[in-house]
Structure formats: C-alpha cells, structure tokens
C-alpha cells in the first residue's frame, strides 16, 4: 500500500554500507558530537570525517548545525518515517473522500432501481 521512493532507499543504504558511518550513527545515538570529536574518535582526518558526515547528511540520517566555529552533528529525523507520514496524510484524505463517494454512488444506485421500478409499472 505504501511505497517509498527508490532514490531515498538507495541513499540510505549507500550511507549505511560503510562501517565508519554506522559507527558515527551509533555514536550520535548516544550524544550529539562535533566533527572534530568524531574524527578523533574514529582515528580519521577532519576532511575524511566531513565526507562521511556529508553522505549521512544527504541521506537524511544526520543533520549538522554550525555554531560559531564548531559544526555539531545529530541524528536526523528518519526520512523513511517522514515519507510514510507524508503518504499517510494523502491516504487519510482520499480514503475518507472515497468512503463518502461510496455512499453517494450507493444512493444513486438505489434511486435508479426505484425509478426503474416506477417506469416498468
């Protein structure tokens, strides 16, 4: 019933396919962290870590915010959840509309039957 766009899946899976990036997500699950902190923690250059965070950010798994000279990373809102909620809003509206439409068509059918009987009499 609910289908997700392939592009979002691809971005998410690509982001999750790297052991460092999975480690970063785990780390951010415990606490927000600066890129410098993450680079040290994962024994990596600042540039290297920036690249990883960039990929996670593009997939919507991480958001970053620069305050002063420090860029802080935190877990992003899960894009799949967001997308599911987005679809669900459409679904709710249309399911409700179509239930009402069912009633209208039911009534038209009944009316036609009655009119048909009247005519045949």
């Amino acid at each position: 019933m609910v289908q997700y766009s392939q592009a979002h899946f691809d971005a998410s899976f690509a982001a999750l396919s790297d052991v460092t990036r999975r480690g970063v997500l785990e780390q951010l699950g415990r606490a927000d962290a600066s890129i410098t902190y993450l680079a040290e923690k994962f024994h990596m250059t600042l540039t290297g870590m920036k690249k990883h965070v960039g990929i996670l950010e593009q997939a919507g798994l991480v958001t970053t915010e620069k305050v002063g000279r420090v860029r802080t990373c935190k877990l992003g809102l899960c894009r799949l959840e967001e997308e599911a909620a987005w679809i669900e809003r459409f679904h709710q509206l249309w399911a409700t509309r179509f239930d009402e439409l069912d009633n209208v068509v039911e009534e038209l059918k009944r009316k036609e039957k009655v009119d048909g009987r009247k005519k045949s009499k």
């Binding site: 019933m1 609910v2 289908q3 766009s5 987005w86 679809i87 809003r89 459409f90 679904h91 509206l93 249309w94 399911a95 409700t96 509309r97 179509f98 239930d99 009402e100 439409l101 069912d102 009633n103 209208v104 068509v105 039911e106 038209l108 059918k109 036609e112």
Partner: protein
C-alpha cells in the same frame, strides 16, 4: 475463485497511494457502482460537494461551481472557522464515464489531475493521477495541505485574540 470473491469487499474499499516519481502521485480505489454513476458523482456539483469535503476535515464547502466541459472552469469555496479559501481551475479533457483531466490554478504549484473510470462487473476502478510542476510542490502538497491550513487558522486565531483584546 470463491475465496477471491469472499475477500473482495475488503480489497474493494482499499485506497492505495503511491508516489510514482518526484512530481507524481497516484491514488486508486474501487467504487461499488457502474462508471456512469461514479462519473456523475464527480461531475455534478450537488453530488460532488457531498463527498469531496468530508465532514471529518472540519471544513465546510460554501459553494461549488463546475462547468464540466473542455475549457470549462470549476471553483470551490471553503470556510474553516471563519476563514475562506478557494480552489479553482479548468477542465482540459472530459470523456463521459471514462476520463477527466483538470488543472488547478490557485498558485503556480497547482497540479494537473487526471482521473480515469474503469468499469468491471458493475464496479468502477478509479485511478487519480496528479502531476505537480516540481518536486517541491508535491512535497508541500503532502506536508502542506492539511498542516498549512491548520497553521493559517492558528495564526488567524491569534490575530482574532489580539483584535478582541
């Protein structure tokens, strides 16, 4: 065969929503009635206004004008807690009992909507396809529509409070 028939009522009432691409969304539903009656419910304002704005949406339809022919226009006016809004556009294709295409012209983010009516065994499969001018417009239509409305009204409420004070 019998098993399929037994599960039919449930399947029939199922509304599916699928985002086909960045700019397109497709909604399907089977209605228990022949296409000519379903088409009538989409094209006669007195019938259309009974289902297009479900009561649970909390909005009421003030007026509904529909000139259902190629180049004809439609206009729906709503009210919600004292605030009014209008939806309007033009019919691009009108093929009785099988196909309707219209534009939505309130803003440049409006979609082109195509509805097809496919009758089988006295039931009608509705396929509604909406094509938006951009990914952003469709994104906003999902998150926006209901929420934006609520927000606007919340703002209006605030405004009214300040006016009353």
């Amino acid at each position: 065969m019998d098993a399929r028939r037994a599960s039919e009522p449930d399947l029939m009432k199922r509304t599916t929503v699928e985002r086909k691409s960045e700019r397109e969304i497709v909604v399907t539903r089977t209605i228990n009635g022949p296409a000519r009656l379903v088409f009538e419910a989409w094209t006669k304002p007195e019938l259309f206004k009974r289902w297009w704005v479900p009561k649970s949406m909390g909005m009421s339809l003030l007026s509904c004008e529909m000139d259902v022919r190629v180049g004809g226009r439609y206009r729906l006016e709503f009210s919600y807690e004292g605030s009014k809004s209008a939806f309007f556009g033009t019919y691009k294709e009108v093929t009785p009992h099988s196909r309707l295409v219209w534009t939505n012209e309130e803003s440049e983010d409006g979609a082109v909507t195509t509805v097809t009516f496919e009758e089988k065994d006295g039931k009608t499969l509705l396929v509604m396809h909406e094509l938006y001018p951009s990914k952003e417009a469709l994104d906003a239509a999902g998150t926006g529509a209901a929420d934006a409305m609520v927000e606007t009204f919340a703002q209006l409420d605030e405004l009214l409070v300040t006016l009353v004070v």
